[in-house]
């Protein structure tokens, strides 16, 4: 139904940060002094507005509001209207984005205080928030695509924020390219929708998708999934996410942990009506989710770079979410709940990591940390809570959301249910292991600091957001699952949550998971906590470790499969174009020239040879004429 009241103004959600970005980018140095404040203000304002809108939405009897803005592209059959859809699903994302966004803006004020280009940083952040909001609020796949690539750009700009570092520049490029690969899938999916249904709006597509052949729907589903994998760093497109850590830490927290990378989950959840009709596609989602879950967890165990560990953890956690939404109606809510919870604690963890780096002169090598708990009490506390939430410590948020996913998996009731559930539980164990390892190496043990490092707690402007997020990490899960059930809120989107007969009682699952988690912690303590952590990574290690350190050779594969052949192909083509295509032309010219000078030799300058030529010509002419007339 068309929106009125505040909802009608929900486009401001996007406009505000966008305006902020515009002002900061065009304003130039003039805005250096107050730019960061403006940037933060716009996002906070957006958050307030989002809250208000959501409240109003809650008030509506039929919880969904369309905002028609203007005609974007109309030509022939195609008619794309720029419009927003404010419904429960987009609402929670709007809240997450603006909420966490605000906190991270605040944090960045402190974190980037000494960076000369802070203004640019806030401009990009605002740009990101705007694009991300467009992504989740858009009312058609085209709008989503626009936001989709918009966040890609923002992420590119922010990863490459310190562009004088080649690593950063390369990582940014890598991220953009691998995202583009996914985008191609998304784009083609949209083409198919238009070709088959003549529309690209959610309403139109979901309304008539049922009329399509199963194969087509599956194709759409898989193509969308490709897009989702690109954006969310899922297998086989996961390799860019860890590199993205080259960006400033607040970026990692906001974009590469809390919001952007979860866009894939949003896409699949949003496209529920399509996946409901495409079991094959959904199965693939499950497979990818489960696989990535393990890949991420395993890789996370081996790295010494604190941000990389967190990054792989993110990959793995998003794997959980994919697994959840891959389960269908049973899993959507669980997946989204985990998404929100993850948004809180992972953001918190990253901010914590940022504060640690802040204290350690921007070092990320955990082998040079240790014993920081007394130097950085606040960070330690908030980080710790986030840690506990992540590994699913009972009654913290991760505990509820992750268990819900495992439940949903098992509730399939078939053998695959058990397999997936098992994977999920195993993942929980690994998570516990690598996170504990991280905790131990960072905050406990002996101080292995480089010389001249004097750890000190971050300023309040940074710690405050961490505290808030820590609180969220603790509370979110309970809040979303039991106190204020997300399932009810999302009912208009996913319909009545089917009360499945539990295969295994939730309590049992909780117990099992907790045990496995504790085993993981124990293992970590045995491997890391008990003995001295060497300052340099040991070289002679098991192939498993080596594989894990190389993230299961994802990059190697990409390079040897795409990059190198691509470079060879390019070189070959350049040669072909110059020698072959252009050469043919120049060769023709040269040939003519040669012929010319050779023919010119016949022009000997001797009268008698000229006469000879004429006589010959005359004979030929006469002969030709006779031949023509005779024949």
């Amino acid at each position: 139904m068309p929106a009125e009241g505040l909802l009608a103004a929900s486009w401001l959600l996007i406009a505000l940060p966008l305006a902020g970005a515009a002002v900061l980018l065009l304003g130039g140095r003039r805005t250096d002094r107050w730019g960061h404040l403006l940037g933060t203000a716009t996002v906070v304002a957006a958050f307030v507005l989002a809250v208000a809108c959501t409240v109003q939405l809650a008030g509506l009897d039929q919880r969904s509001a369309d905002v028609e803005l203007f005609t974007f592209i109309r030509s022939g059959e195609l008619d794309v209207t720029a419009g927003l859809l404010y419904d429960p699903l987009s609402a929670i994302f709007a809240l997450l984005i603006t909420g966490v966004g605000s906190l991270i803006h605040v944090y960045s004020i402190g974190y980037m205080a000494h960076d000369p280009a802070r203004r640019r940083f806030f401009a990009y952040l605002n740009l990101f928030v705007a694009a991300m909001l467009l992504l989740v609020l858009g009312n058609s796949f085209v709008a989503l695509y626009v936001g989709w690539e918009g966040v890609g750009l923002a992420s590119y700009l922010l990863i490459a924020f310190w562009y004088t570092r080649p690593a950063a520049a390369t990582a940014a490029k890598k991220a953009f390219i691998m995202n583009r690969v996914g985008d191609v899938g998304l784009a083609i999916a949209i083409f198919v929708m238009f070709a088959q249904l003549g529309t690209t709006s959610y309403a139109g597509v979901f309304g008539s998708v049922g009329t399509l052949a199963g194969g087509t729907i599956t194709a759409i589903g898989l193509l969308l999934l490709l897009g989702a994998c690109g954006k969310s760093g899922q297998f086989p497109l996961q390799a860019w996410l860890p590199d993205a850590m080259e960006g400033p830490t607040p970026v990692s927290a906001l974009i590469h942990a809390a919001t952007m990378v979860t866009a894939g989950v949003y896409l699949i959840a949003r496209s529920a009506p399509i996946y409901d009709l495409a079991p094959t596609a959904r199965a693939v989602v499950l497979a990818i989710g489960a696989g990535t879950l393990l890949i991420g967890a395993i890789a996370g165990c081996a790295y010494d770079d604190i941000k990389k560990v967190l990054a792989y953890s993110t990959v793995s956690q998003i794997g959980y979410m994919f697994l959840a939404v891959g389960l269908g109606p049973a899993g959507y809510v669980a997946g989204l709940a985990h998404l929100l919870a993850h948004g809180f604690f992972k953001a918190g963890l990253f901010l914590g990591a940022g504060s640690v780096m802040h204290a350690m002169n921007d070092s990320v090598d955990m082998r040079r940390f240790g014993a920081l708990w007394k130097k950085l009490p606040v960070t330690f506390a908030t980080f710790g809570l986030g840690y506990l939430a992540l590994i699913g410590f009972p009654f913290l948020s991760g505990y509820f959301t992750k268990d819900a996913i495992i439940e949903a998996a098992l509730d399939r009731g078939d053998v695959w249910g058990w397999v997936l559930g098992g994977v999920a539980v195993l993942g929980a164990g690994l998570t516990a292991f690598y996170m504990t390892r991280l905790m131990l190496m960072t905050f406990f043990g002996r101080a292995r600091w480089e010389d001249g490092v004097h750890p000190h707690e971050a300023p309040t402007v940074m710690t405050a957001p961490m505290v808030v997020l820590a609180v969220g990490s603790v509370g979110a899960g309970a809040l979303l699952v039991s106190v204020f059930p997300l399932s009810g809120w999302l009912e208009p989107v996913f319909g009545e949550p089917a009360e499945a007969a539990h295969v295994v009682a939730p309590a049992v699952i909780g117990l099992v998971v907790t045990v496995v988690m504790l085993l993981g912690v124990l293992a970590a303590w045995l491997f890391v906590g008990r003995r001295e952590v060497p300052v340099t990574a040991p070289v002679r290690v098991s192939p498993v470790t080596r594989a894990a350190r190389n993230a299961l050779y994802a990059d190697t594969v990409n390079e040897s499969l795409f990059m190198r052949p691509g470079q060879w192909l390019t070189r070959a083509l350049v040669w072909l174009d110059n020698r072959g295509v252009d050469g043919a032309v120049n060769g023709l010219a040269a040939g003519l020239g040669g012929t010319s000078s050779r023919l010119a030799r016949t022009q000997t300058g001797f009268v008698r040879s000229y006469a000879m030529g004429m006589l010959g010509g005359a004979v030929l002419v006469a002969g030709a004429l006779l031949a023509v007339t005779a024949g």
């Binding site: 203007f70 592209i73 030509s75 022939g76 085209v142 989709w148 562009y163 070709a195 174009d577 032309v585």
Partner: protein, 530 residues
Amino acid sequence: MSASLYLVAMIAVPAIGAAAVAALPRERGLLAKQVTLGVSLVVLLLAVLATAAFDVDGDRFQLTTSVSWIPDFGAEFALGVDGIALVMLLLIGVLVPLVVTASWHEADHGPRPTRVFFAWLLLLEAMMVGVFVATDVLLFYVFFEAMLVPMYFLIGSFGGPRRQYAAVKFFLYSLVGGLIMLAAVIGLYVVSTSQLGEGTFAFDALRQLDIDPEVQKLLFLGFFVAFAIKAPLVPFHTWLPDSGAEAPIGGSVLLVGVLDKVGTFGFLRYCLPLFPDASRFFAPFVLVLAVVGILYAALLAMGQSDMKRLVSYTSISHFGFIALGIFAFTTEAGTGAVLYMVNHGLATGLLFLVVGMLISRGGSRQIGDYGGVAAKAPLLAGAFLVAGLASLALPGTNSFVSEFLVLIGSFPERPVFTVVATVGIILAALYILLMYQRTMHGPPRGVLLQQDAAEPAPGLGTGGATATATATRTAAPGTLRVLDLSRRELVVVAPLVALIIGLGVYPQPLLDLIEPAVSATMSDLGGTDR
């Protein structure tokens, strides 16, 4: 002035202006520049007026003028615009003043007088307008060929080190195409003679002809080759990298931004309506060329070390998209293709201009001679980025709309080709970001470290080139002070950036102009098979 005279004026004003500028005494270089700028602005104004006078729901051709020209050939001096031609006029109107501003110091230090450069520029503008507004095929052909001469002299007299080779190559390639087209033009005339009693070149009359399919194929090929060379489609493309690289920046912009569009414009205006059966027959082959071109040229672009060559190759790739859109035979794709022509003019125009500004500072076209420029010249980098993003068709920039329309419009008809073409957007991201990263990102490199390198290579001086060079020579040894955009350069860049983003967000007005003409073309195409 009556509306129908706008078009005549758009040809006459720059032509007269060219003569006037050429007549100026050698030392009045500044005056020549001012006159040129003024004239080009007048043309822009006329283009806007013409647009205002154009009735979207009106006849196919409007603002028409027609004077008997060569009665014996049945040729008329007939002008008129449809939506397609109109948007191209707008593009010309916008680009030329910016090019003039950007080339302000282009000819200051060469051996040849400044006025010559600007006179050729204006003459070129007149010819470009003519080629788009002609509604008489012979007149079109005349402009089509005559257009070569000014560009030939711009490249040859003011171009880079290999300008002679490039100029001749450009001229001969286009001439060969043009001559083959001439055969087809005459053939068309002969057919019209036999069918209508007396020969004519009037487009509207020729559109009514019912030509035997076999003949159609021959005539189609005649036109097609000419346009495919102009556009250019692989494998007729090898002249463009040379010309694009050797031409002075202003020349490159107009060459790729407008001149080459004549090719794709020709497909749409002449090949499809005049030879519908042949068009349908050859469509698969053309589409193969188009799609192959998209990928092939994109890969080649990645392999270039010379920025201007790289940009030229990206254009070849883009022309593949345009051709795809035209030969998919759907209104959406066709409209997208036309919009693509405009957007590509703006985006690649900006890209060329910015690259030129960079070259004018570094005095080298080699990517390897640059690095970390963003740190020294953020505005330049920003403009570069916008141009780059536009040419990789990022949503929010104008190119996205057109590329999206082309692809989504082609998909229902030609899914396979479209899917392959879509892969091209990955490559687009690659070649743009590779160039951007190598030149703008990373630590300062190449010319930023050695200061003598600031000497602009002959013919490469764009904009503040020489000014910068002198500034750098006085700069502290060891470090080259790369100045950020000068005020004049900002004036050049700002409007283009604004248009790129504006048209990216709200393209509908242009689409409304374009669509009627395109759907008319498509109906010409479809109208004949029943």
